[in-house]
């Protein structure tokens, strides 16, 4: 993957792309270690979705905003939150309730053609080649939210595989109507954002499809770095880069200490 010179960092771009898709009044959940997710939600709140509601999954703070990106569960967020909920009360709507959340934003070790999520292991579960951190809320958020976003900070054949080695978050499962056939509520992944482009899922087959490529990225480069055949529309759009106003708000109201550029620059070439 080549170095893509930009006037903004990868973390900033991913936050902007995600924020654009969020609507006012929606409800969202953000887990630990989620700087880009926090930034995206607070950017949407600062711009077009002032009543977006988000809660720190483990910490219970709602809408903590003070222009600094902190880990979502940090105690310091209590002082700038609208509410602090206790986790044993939150489990009812996190782990059981259908469609409480409009969306969640999830990363993965692997995702596949139908947007299933794996954070558990690469290889066989009994003797994995790589043991990942585990599932925690991913199963419930993938299974129960109205939609979810897949946010990948790397785009390569290790991460985009034909079929995930372990389904810990159900996406569109095996495509078509398989998700609802299995008794899961309507939902699944709506967008995938990566350092190379933005992807969605074709409505009938539910297979991953190119929506737009970032500046300087070619479709061949994406194919080379994706372990399955992406659906490709006749005309490939270019991703609308973060504009000056988006970056201004992001840097002056959301991430004033520059957490995103420091932690998420554009990736080096593979």
């Amino acid at each position: 993957m080549p170095v893509v010179p930009q006037s903004f960092a990868m973390g900033e771009m991913l936050a902007v792309l995600l924020a654009r898709d969020m609507a006012d009044g929606e409800k969202a959940i953000v887990g630990t270690n989620s700087d880009i997710q926090v930034a995206a939600c607070n950017l949407a709140r600062a711009r077009h979705a002032p009543h977006l509601w988000w809660v720190s999954g483990p910490g219970g703070m709602t809408n903590p905003t003070e222009g600094i990106i902190r880990p979502a569960a940090d105690a310091e967020n209590i002082a700038v939150a609208q509410a602090v909920m206790d986790l044993p009360l939150m489990i009812d709507f996190i782990d059981w309730q259908i469609h409480f959340f409009d969306f969640a934003i999830l990363g993965a070790l692997q995702t596949d053609r139908f947007g299933n999520i794996n954070t558990v292991c690469v290889g066989d579960h009994a003797k994995p080649r790589l043991r990942g951190p585990g599932t925690v809320g991913i199963s419930a958020l993938c299974g129960l939210s109205k939609r979810f976003y897949i946010m990948m900070t790397r785009h390569d054949r290790g991460a985009f595989v034909p079929k995930v080695d372990f389904v810990c978050g159900a996406g569109h499962m095996t495509g078509g109507s398989s998700r609802t056939d299995a008794g899961l509520p309507e939902g699944g992944p709506s967008l995938v954002v990566t350092p190379l482009g933005v992807f969605d899922f074709e409505p009938a087959s539910k297979a991953m499809r190119v929506r737009s490529l970032h500046e300087g990225v070619t479709i061949d480069e994406v194919r080379d770095n994706t372990g399955f055949d992406l659906l490709v529309p006749d005309k490939i759009e270019s991703t609308l880069a973060p504009d000056a106003e988006e970056l201004f708000v992001l840097r002056r109201a959301v991430d004033t200490t520059g957490v995103l550029p420091a932690k998420f620059p554009w990736p080096k070439a593979n």
Binding site: H51, M61, I78, Q82, A83, L89, D92, F93
Partner: protein, 296 residues
Amino acid sequence: MKTSSGKIVDLATALAAVKDGMTVGIGGWIFHGQPMALIRGLIARGVRDLTLVPAPGSVAPDMLIGAGCVKETACVFISFEHLGLAPNFRRAAQSGAVKVLEMDGPGIAGGLRAGACDLPYGLIPDLGTDLPKVNPNGYRKARVQEGSRPLLEVPAIKPDVLLLHGQQADEEGNVQYFGAGYFDLLMAQAAKHVICSVDRIVPSSTVRQSARLTKIPSAFVDAIVVTPFGAHPGCSPGLYDQDEAHLKTYVAASRDQKSFDSYLDAFVRNGGGEPAYRDKIGAQALAALTSGGAAP
């Protein structure tokens, strides 16, 4: 950019969500946080045939029952404590005018949790009471029993509308409680539509200053009505005490239906809404309740 959340509405707009025949939950606990302005508004609108699911309550369910708005009510606990039995509930239950769905703590807790969790039923222990005999739909022998502990299934409770009262809210719809939250949040998670009255509106910065008091975060509230003294004659914890004198007037007026109708005509059905109600109670009486000297 700063726009209205649209959640702060007037009483009539909020109560338009309540239709005849609906299942209506009521929050608070006995005389604490009874959403009385919402109750009075419903009576003035003349809603009918409600099924009530009140948390342990007092004057809120009792007044709706006495006003003829109720077809049946769940009863976990409806009491006027040191002032005796709930007078209109008692009369309606004894005459059979209102059907009583007898419940207990585990029944409402298990049912609300199942409702909040989108599960068909909750599993609770069989505690050897007569409740399953008089409410067989509410308490079923569990189809799977394990070990030696007998279990019951209680169906999920999902009120169509829930009525709550908190002390203050911000424009976003975050509701703060100065006292206990009781079942209010669990009921809000289980209900389809949540209306909350509050005594006052405060800036969001005030809410953020004490985020731990936000017992009902905005995501769980559909409509907020700002109604000072909206819990009267019950108490609004931390703001004003319950009005013992008015509650005694209420109990006395509840001796028969004719007398209670006169009470309702004077205090609730006079066309003047909450402003008229506050006038009728009087400035000195309301002021005394806020001074800390009127505590029971």
